[in-house]
């Protein structure tokens, strides 16, 4: 349907050469977008929708920070605050962070990087976006009719008997979003197995593909469990089929087991694709093959698999058995190893390289630094004796923002800058981009570093009011959040600006190695004019001339 001859309607292009038919100008009607099966267009649909949800979630974050400026709960009611942080968490996790890298960059890049014309099931891909939109709309509706206040974790029995907000609707939204994510994962796995270009063997795959493969495994194996868990909560609320109800001899901790069986691996759904992005960025901007390709590739799989063995580290004080706690703590440390392998290999790649400080690379540096801090504090939490004190305090809040915002979001922004020329055919303004990278980094640390201290001195999370001695640190955090907000608004503005005014990008502005750079920018609807045949390893930067790159030379 996207195939209407488009050249006639194509007046928006301000290029000097005749624009080639590409996925963007191949049909301009709304219908050609809403019914597209082109993975690149679906990626763009996702980009628009997840960005929307990011700003909604960010809006709630600002409300949280404003409320916490003073110790008394004076900006809003306690109930309102509870809804605000719940909807912040749910929006950010289920409607932003889980889909963000796989569904936007993954959707766009997986077929391109493996030399395929599209994902294996293009219509399921579109279906998965629609599911996401249905879920998102439902969640928005849920917010408008009063929201939900269970925390993003839906803990029973509060979610079944305690709360009188719209738990079922929010649950249904998460349930549907889950299926969207399952279909994305399924599509990726099949595509990676079945659609690789001739010669593209598993040991030649870009690390981004490996990362998305590992992510997809988690999506397929974990998401159904959270889906059924949420169904059980809904059923308990609706029909009083008490599955977790202690009055019937049910165990509320069983809910937590089932929930975290998915939701711990889910944090790797978030981080793994971003790690894949970072591998791409580091190699390109240091003009080097990656150090320890095999180990980085396998560590993604290792993280995905081991990630399923550690879930009860969220339940150390919840009342699980002493021995189970020890087993889970022990297993948790195993996830640290493959993560460490990645960090060390990225660092080693820099050795004897030739580094350009383009914006994507700045984000990659930011990722390494912040993920290291976030990950190491994860080890604090995995340490039993410490977790007892810091669990459910701001220490945990700081930990996960370091990995999720400092890690995933940094990786995503780095990737967006890196592939923007491929996506849009335009360059973004480098100067502004570097400024915003700096703002994000500084603002981020100012926001979340004080929270580590807050947590250790004992400020519990999900608190609407707090003892006055915690105020100074909270003020710092709120100040940081305002800087952060500016840092996030900037890219949004200049990306939009560059769509019209940015310099036209060449097919391969960074001189990068991946297959995605071997087609035009933006790529044609079926990606490659002829199917590429791969005869080289990934990141063969030794064979690519180190000519000056387009972007850092300010245009």
């Amino acid at each position: 349907m996207a195939s209407k001859a488009a050249s006639t309607e194509n007046t928006a292009m301000s290029a000097n050469q005749a624009p080639k038919l590409n996925y963007l100008n191949n049909g301009h009607s709304l219908k050609s977008w809403l019914l597209t099966t082109d993975h690149k267009r679906i990626a763009m649909l996702y980009l628009i929708s997840v960005t929307t949800f990011f700003f909604i979630g960010g809006f709630f974050a600002m409300l949280i920070r404003l409320e916490l400026l003073t110790p008394q709960g004076d900006l809003m009611q306690a109930d309102t605050y509870n809804k605000v942080f719940t909807m912040h968490g749910m929006t950010m996790v289920f409607f932003f962070l889980i889909p963000v890298v796989p569904a936007v960059l993954g959707n766009f890049l997986v077929p391109l990087m493996i030399g395929a014309k599209d994902l294996a099931f293009p219509r399921i891909n579109l279906l998965s976006w629609y599911l996401y939109i249905i879920a998102g709309t439902l969640f928005l509706h849920c917010m408008l009719i009063g929201g939900v206040d269970t925390g993003w974790t839906f803990y029973t029995p509060y979610s079944t008997v305690g709360s009188n907000t719209n738990v079922i609707e929010a649950g249904l939204a998460v349930f549907i979003a889950g299926f969207s994510s399952i279909f994305t994962g399924l599509n990726f796995i099949v595509t990676i197995h079945r659609m690789r270009a001739p010669g593209l063997t598993w040991d030649r795959l870009p690390l981004f593909i490996w990362a998305n493969y590992a992510t997809s495994l988690i999506m397929i194996l974990g998401t159904p469990v959270v889906a059924i868990t949420i169904v059980l909560v809904a059923v308990e609320r609706l029909f009083h089929l008490g599955i977790f109800d202690p009055a019937l001899g049910g165990d509320p901790l069983l809910f937590q087991h089932l929930f975290w069986f998915y939701s711990h691996p889910a944090v790797y759904i978030m981080i793994l694709p971003s790690m894949g992005v970072v591998s791409e960025l580091i190699t390109c901007f240091s003009r080097k093959r990656i150090f320890g390709y095999k180990f980085i590739a396998l560590s993604s799989i290792a993280i995905a698999v081991i990630g399923f063995l550690v879930w009860a580290h969220h339940m150390f004080v919840a009342g699980i058995s002493l021995y189970a706690a020890m087993i889970f703590s022990f297993l948790t440390f195993f996830v640290g190893v493959p993560s460490a392998v990645k960090v060390f290999n990225w660092t080693a790649t820099l050795y004897k390289s030739s580094i350009t400080y383009a914006t994507p690379m700045l984000y990659a540096f930011g990722f390494i630094g912040l993920f290291t801090i976030g990950g190491l504090t994860g080890l604090f939490l995995a340490t039993l004796g410490i977790d007892v004190h810091v669990t459910d305090t701001y220490f945990v809040v700081a930990h996960f923002h370091y990995v999720m915002v400092g890690g995933v979001l940094m990786g995503f922004l780095g990737g967006m800058h890196f592939w923007w020329p491929k996506i849009s055919g335009r360059m973004y303004p480098e100067g502004w981009a570097r400024l915003s990278a700096l703002l994000v980094f500084v603002g981020f640390n100012l926001t979340f570093f004080p929270q580590f201290i807050l947590g250790y001195v004992g400020m519990p999370r999900r608190y609407w009011q707090y003892p006055p001695e915690f105020q100074v640190l909270n003020v710092l955090s709120t100040a940081g959040a305002s800087v952060l907000a500016v840092g996030y608004l900037l890219p949004m503005i200049y990306f939009l600006w560059s769509l019209k005014y940015g310099p036209i990008a060449s097919d391969n502005p960074w001189n990068a190695a991946g297959l995605e750079w071997k087609t035009t920018s933006p790529p044609p609807t079926f990606n490659f004019d002829e199917t590429p045949v791969v005869t080289w390893e990934a990141y063969n930067y030794d064979e690519i001339p180190d000519v000056p790159l387009e972007a850092p030379v300010a245009r």
Binding site: F291, G292, D387, I453, P460, E469, D542
Partner: protein
């Protein structure tokens, strides 16, 4: 703790120093690792910045390096695990001679029952130097008992008991927080732990004491008809409950369980869930008949039927002696 910019929490229990020590160790390791990576990245990024004419040298990787930097962090993490697990074991194993206090949480308050019968709300008075074991349950949703100055925390669940123990070391008033999100006034569900010198504590105890908890339990035991089946002289239709607490019980299906608080609680609420070997499943359920507070009293009574392992055990075994008096003897 600075009242303006607290950077470190108060330290007021035997646990807090130990947790701090481990925390400092972790901070050191994490600090070193972070510094290492930050410095490495910065130095490499500057040293190998793009210079026209110089090309990157391609290096493929090194298995030896990979193994080294997998194994070393792993062993470092192993030290975290071991130290942390030892501490946790200590945190989760109440000493046998601890004074027991029952805690009932509900939205959004803490109800506290001392063995001596004292009741408090949102405040817990304890003497310095005394091991205190909290036996906690919730009437509605999950809450969490959190005392930052003691570095302890435990979720409080509906339908069962969880326990927590501490030994306060410094007199003073410390925050008690609810750390598990439990609804509207979650952030208001706090209170104070008041740690007192033993004499002061004894005075406080002496005021307003009612019947000791296990006495209430004893009355209930009679009035609810438990005593018709559970007799202490001859074998009744139910097992003799004297001395069962904390002892292994052989069940009908061959399993053995320890008769801890949760077992006693379950035996009253869901008697058929675990049937004692040699008995018929005839005990009726008391679910919905006894309240959480009454349950606590019954459990306290059943426990009081067991002789304590050592002579210096908690107060609950000498109901005859006035609490104030014993308290002085108690303090070690």
């Amino acid at each position: 703790m600075s009242k303006f910019l607290p950077l470190w929490p108060d330290s007021a229990s035997t646990m807090s120093g130990q947790v701090d020590a481990l925390y400092i160790y972790l901070l050191l390791v994490a600090g070193v690792m972070t510094a290492l990576i930050f410095v490495a990245v910065t130095v490499l990024a500057i040293k190998y910045r793009r210079v026209p004419g110089r090309e990157a040298t391609q290096i493929e990787g090194s298995t030896i390096l990979e193994i080294t930097w997998s194994i070393i962090p792993f062993f470092v993490m192993l030290t975290f695990f071991i130290w942390g697990a030892v501490l946790y074991f200590q945190e989760r194993t109440p000493p046998a001679n601890a004074t027991e206090v029952y805690v009932v949480a509900k939205q959004w308050m803490w109800k506290i029952e001392h063995m001596e019968g004292q009741r408090e709300i949102n405040e817990l008075h304890v003497p310095v130097g005394q091991n205190v074991k909290l036996i906690m349950t919730s009437q509605d949703v999950i809450h969490s008992f959190f005392v930052p100055a003691f570095r302890i925390k435990q979720d409080v669940l509906p339908g069962r008991y969880t326990t927590l123990w501490f030994k306060a070391t410094v007199p003073g008033r410390y925050h008690l927080f609810c750390a598990e999100y439990c609804g509207t006034m979650h952030s208001g569900m706090g209170g104070d732990i008041v740690v007192m010198e033993p004499q002061e504590y004894a005075q406080w105890m002496a005021v307003g004491a009612t019947a000791p908890l296990q006495d209430t339990g004893k009355e209930l035991f009679a009035s609810l008809g438990c005593a018709t089946c559970h007799r202490f002289d001859v074998q009744g239709r139910g097992p003799n409950l004297a001395g069962i607490y904390n002892k292994p019980v052989l069940l009908e299906d061959g399993r053995t369980v320890t008769a801890d608080e949760n077992y006693v609680r379950e035996s009253i609420l869901n008697p058929t869930a675990k049937i004692v070997n040699g008995f018929k499943p005839i005990m009726p359920t008391f679910q919905g008949i006894v309240s959480d507070e009454q349950l606590n009293a019954l459990v306290a009574y059943v426990k009081s039927l067991s002789q304590p392992p050592t002579g210096t055990a908690g107060l609950q075994n000498q109901p005859a002696v006035s609490p104030g008096q014993t308290q002085n003897v108690q303090v070690q």
